[in-house]
Amino acid sequence: MKKLINQPEDAVKEELEGVAAAHGDRLRVHTAPNYIVRADAPVHGKVALVSGGGSGHEPMHGGFVGLGMLDAACPGEVFTSPTPDQVLEAAKAVNGGAGVLLIVKNYSGDVMNFEMAAELAEDEGIEVEQVVIDDDVAVKDSLYTAGRRGVGATVLAEKICGAAAEQRWPLPDVAGLCRKVNANARSMGVALTSCTVPTAGKPTFELADDEIELGIGIHGEPGRERRKLAPAHAIVETLATAVVKDLPFGRGDEVLAFVNGMGGTPLMELYVVYNELHTLLEGWGIAIGRNLIGSYMTSLDMAGCSITLLRLDDELTAFWDAPVNTTGLRWGV
């Protein structure tokens, strides 16, 4: 394992110290328990958005804290959910009196830890809503699994709901908007390589040089099938077909197309993927109204990408275009 770290168990702590050193003008980093809040928190009268999850997915979630997006992010250990006390303290730090929306990705650990945090926050008199994001079409049967995983739609939901919160939408409406984003978004990913958790020191799973894992989860969970490597157009067609058929998206739809890098794939390849996706969607009569291309929800050093499509309407488009000023996403300011 080659990594630019000191001691593996210090990586998350030292990352947070680096974030604090770099972005003290925009963010406040709290340790023990760990959470990142926007520098002007709490914003009086605004619904506060709190998210979190295991570390190793940067810039998600800490890179999305700031004007127009999250009020707080709670980083857990690498690929390990944050704990309820972390989420509770973050919620208290950002509650501006209009309540707190917890945006949770659908993994057993995240769901339970945020649920406990919500109970604790309610005990302290904070109004809380939770929305669980589960957009990964690679997981099929929710009756016999923990359900679909939360992936790319999380980034889109945080951006769109953050904009609504800035416009002082009340908590039930921001939560409703978050559910709407989740209901209209679908994703699927592919891994070209495994990833290595610093404390584990070896790859999470084995993948031969000429193999890919279709439907990979962001912690290296297995997907739908393992295949031989193919040209980009074939891989993109597989991912896009699964995503489009699931909602389903149809002729005449306008979408936000999000091509996300898993951490170890160059932007060059992400644009190759986008080009294939663009051609395919055009052929299917689906218009790309907005796009996002880059590594926003990563899996450490994994090579690969995910494709997320979100069906747009005027409301979602307007909130997507609204100003955002975070270290990960920034426009309109």
């Binding site: 704990t83 406990m116 016999y144 290296g220």
Partner: protein, 225 residues
């Protein structure tokens, strides 16, 4: 041997469980690597070391009150240190046991059985798992049932705990052929069969530690003044 559960017995039990988790840390992690994310041993070890640290440093207030308060302290410590899915699940087990145990300084076998049943219901409420989903519940639910049956028959604490551990062991072994329906292992579908569940394994360790130490008449830790 005592026939009631006291703070001293609880402390001995938690120390024995912490020692078992530390001893079997790699085994738990290897079981988890096969069907999960390879962190159950390290997460449980971190949590139980924190619990042991807490036991040694209880204030007179915390140490002076009943069995229930101690169990709740253990639950909150696990919730804030274990993370992942095991943190809320083991946390809920101890928190709900603590609520059911109340303020008494010692519990009879029947009261202990009631507390354990409440804890196991708490785990089920938190994780929404049913028997046969290949989770902790597969060890805990039969264990709680055996304990209640033993209490109803008027067995001694030591005998009741032995039966509880045996039931947990059977439940744990029975998870091997199961296909996981909850947690990260469920993404594997059929591929999860043939592996013993790591959560059921740590739950068996917990019940085995109770059989070894909970009936001991060790004095509680001297409160720090």
């Amino acid at each position: 041997m005592r026939d009631t559960v006291t703070q001293g017995g609880l402390t001995a039990w938690l120390r024995a469980f912490a020692a078992a988790v530390a001893r079997d840390r790699e085994e738990l992690t290897d079981l988890d690597a096969a069907i999960g994310d390879a962190d159950h041993g390290s997460n449980m070890d971190r949590g139980m070391q924190a619990v042991v640290g807490k036991l040694g440093g209880l204030s007179p207030d915390e140490a002076g009150v009943g069995v229930g308060a101690l169990l709740k302290t253990v639950g909150m410590t696990l919730v804030s240190t274990v993370g992942g899915a095991a943190g809320p699940l083991y946390g809920s087990l101890f928190l709900d046991m603590g609520k059911a145990a109340g303020e008494d300084a010692e519990l009879t076998v029947a009261q202990w059985a009631t507390a354990v049943e409440a804890g196991v219901r708490g785990v089920q409420a938190r994780g929404k798992a049913e028997l046969g989903d290949k989770t902790m519940i597969d060890a805990l639910a039969p264990a709680a049932e055996a304990l209640s049956a033993a209490a109803a028959c008027g067995l001694s604490l030591a005998d009741a705990l032995r039966r509880t551990a045996e039931a947990a062991a059977q439940g744990m072994k029975a998870t091997t052929p199961l296909v996981a329906r909850k947690g990260r292992a469920s993404y594997l579908g059929e591929r999860s069969a043939g592996h013993q569940d790591p959560g059921a394994t740590s739950s068996w360790l917990l019940m085995q530690a109770a059989a070894e130490a909970l009936a001991s008449d060790a004095p509680p830790d001297r409160p720090r003044t």
